[in-house]
């Protein structure tokens, strides 16, 4: 900083100059995301909500996590205070054990560090009683509002979803608008067998097809994509891996595009291509997603 000042302003500049965020929070130092495992610290992000949590249990599609914050003064009696020696960030942590809950695996954004084994006593930092925050005296305490605000963010993240759930009604919309396979093939520029697959509700359309089809059946691109048959669970899980997230973001068409749209487009594109290439039930999702991300990430 170059601001000149005297007295308090100089003191402020001196204090600020000594501060540096933990390495793991600095974007440029982000490394390849590991597989989620217990005792890891992750940043969770979905839409405009972000939080940090400690992984307690790993399930197929979700993670049981204990949310943490970093300002000990803001802890209530429900939160455990963990010392700076408890983790590789070297920060005191406020562990909100009372707010532990499941979060979708695809909301993991960045691995920030790990809890370190205790030198003495029980291995688990969270299960044993230890120091907690001060009790709340009444509804006017700011800490109540801070906890409520944290809960709101956690709720947003926990409820995150991107897969169109159980819709798959595109074939009905086509039928209702009187679109037949030959017209569909021409409209989308696809071979007749592919158009038949879409007509029968077996194949999804990608976003380009959705753009071509939307005006004909009175739907927006998102509306068409939301009526696709849901992508196979194995494909969803491949896209949900934290290691895929940065590459998925690189495929966004604009900085304002929501992650739901980006993920749905990726799933529809990979699924559509796989269905076209294979007469049997498609598989090999790892390679297919690799290829898609490589190509879509380089698109202008």
């Amino acid at each position: 900083m170059t601001q000149d000042g005297s007295g308090a302003q100089s003191r402020l500049l001196d204090v600020l100059a000594r501060l540096r965020l933990p390495e793991a929070l600095i974007h440029d130092s982000a490394s390849i995301a590991p597989l989620p495992a217990p005792d890891q610290l992750w940043r969770l992000l979905w839409g405009s909500s972000a939080a940090v949590g400690i992984v307690r249990e790993v399930h197929e599609d979700t993670l049981e996590m204990c949310p943490v914050t970093f300002v000990p003064d803001e802890a209530t009696q429900s939160a455990h205070l963990l010392p700076a020696t408890s983790n590789t960030l070297g920060m005191e942590l406020v562990a909100w054990v009372n707010l532990t809950r499941a979060f979708p695996v695809f909301t993991l954004e960045r691995h920030l560090g790990d809890l370190v084994p205790r030198q003495a006593g029980p291995k688990d930092w969270l299960s044993e009683p230890g120091p907690t925050g001060m009790p709340i005296l009444g509804p006017q305490e700011p800490r109540i509002i801070l906890e409520a605000e944290l809960q709101d963010r956690l709720q947003d993240i926990a409820e995150a979803s991107w897969v169109p759930q159980g819709d798959g009604t595109l074939h009905k919309a086509l039928r209702a608008s009187g679109v037949f396979p030959s017209e569909l093939a021409q409209l989308l520029g696809v071979p007749l067998p592919t158009a038949l697959g879409i007509q029968r509700g077996q194949l999804p359309v990608d976003d380009q097809m959705a753009a071509a089809l939307g005006p004909r059946i009175g739907l927006t691109v998102t509306g068409v994509l939301a009526r696709n048959p849901a992508p196979p669970v194995e494909l969803q899980r491949e896209l949900n891996k934290p290691a895929r997230r940065a590459a998925l973001w690189a495929t966004r068409r604009s900085v304002n595009e929501s992650e739901v749209v980006t993920r749905r487009r990726a799933a529809a594109s990979v699924y559509t291509l796989a269905a076209r290439e294979s007469t049997a039930e498609p598989s090999g999702w790892v390679d297919r997603v690799d290829r898609y991300l490589q190509v879509a990430g380089q698109a202008p």
Binding site: Q3, V15, E23, H27, G47, F70, I145
Partner: protein, 306 residues
């Protein structure tokens, strides 16, 4: 590059972040009644810098990490900074008030033979004569006991010197009720916190005008709230954030409207309404409400609403 992106990329507070911090801190102190730091008479730029230097020298790494971990864009970063600075000022004011009250209670309780000074592991403590042992329960029980004491309004308390007779009587009644509930020795710091919470508003709140909380537009703020629950009087006695919330509730705003106006989620809105309810009840303590007014208060406080 935005402020958050710059902060997250460099890990350090650069010129843009510095300017943002000063701007937000200036906004906090302008819209609340917090006193400036000890060596200042008003909130000058130097006083704001002093406040920020104090915040960052005590918990700089914690708050900076919290902001970057929780913010998703510059607007959310500013909201987090605003809340942290405001809460820091509240904590400071409270610590000062609790410290003063602890010393005042020491004087008052020493001169009253119903109370006895003692020492416990955590330091100096107070107990009722005849009680034995040390209280180790839930502070919430003591708060509840204090809440059962009625007529605790203290119009004003001098910053130092002898306690006026009426205030002395209130403080002793509350302290006695708390220690009776504890039935053992309570640390003087805890006793002061509980008593302070019960007799909150020891210092008058800065009045705000309605124009400050209902900016511009076609809505006449006075017309919108006047005549309902003596709302104008109440709104103008509240800090701006609460006044804005009360005006929204009086205008029958939906949960979505409130969340959008206050940039918060439904849980935070509920928590803020609960705090507001306690303040409104306090402001209405001497008034007898008719049936319609009681219903209005119930609606405002979310009993059949948000």
């Amino acid at each position: 590059m935005g402020v958050l992106a710059d902060l997250a990329a460099s890990g350090r507070v650069g010129p843009d972040t510095y300017s943002m911090l000063c701007e937000v801190a200036g906004r906090v102190v302008r819209s609340h009644s917090f006193p400036p730091p000890a060596s200042y008479t008003s909130w000058t730029d130097e006083a704001v810098a002093d406040l920020l230097a104090d915040l960052f020298s005590t918990k700089g790494m914690s708050v900076l990490t919290q902001w970057v971990a929780s913010a998703t864009d510059d607007a959310s970063l500013k909201r987090l900074v605003y809340k942290s600075i405001k809460n820091h000022l509240i904590d400071q004011a409270k610590a000062t008030e609790v410290g003063k009250l602890r010393r005042r209670l020491d004087t008052l309780l020493s001169a009253d033979d119903r109370f006895e000074a003692t020492n416990v592991a955590g330091g100096h403590a107070w107990t009722l004569k005849g009680s034995v042992g040390t209280w180790q329960g839930d502070l919430g029980d003591l708060v509840a006991a204090a809440a059962r004491v009625s007529r605790v309004h203290i119009a004003s308390l001098p910053p130092s010197g002898p306690t006026p007779r009426a205030a002395k009587e209130v403080l002793l009644r509350v302290a006695h009720a708390v220690l009776a509930e504890a039935d053992g020795a309570v640390r003087d710091q805890d006793l002061a916190r509980v008593v302070q919470y019960r007799v909150a508003y020891l210092h008058p709140i800065r009045e705000v005008s309605l124009e400050e909380v209902v900016p511009g537009g076609d809505l006449d703020p006075y017309e919108a709230v006047d005549g309902r629950l003596e709302a104008r009087e109440i709104v103008e006695a509240l800090p701006p954030d609460d006044a804005q919330l009360l005006v929204l509730l009086l205008n029958e705003a939906t949960t979505e409207d409130i969340c959008a106006q206050l940039s918060c989620g439904p849980g935070e809105a509920r928590a803020r309404i609960a705090g507001l309810r306690e303040k409104v009840e306090y402001l209405l303590r001497d008034k007898t409400l008719d049936e319609e007014q009681s219903r209005e208060l119930g609606r405002l406080s979310g009993e059949d609403g948000i």
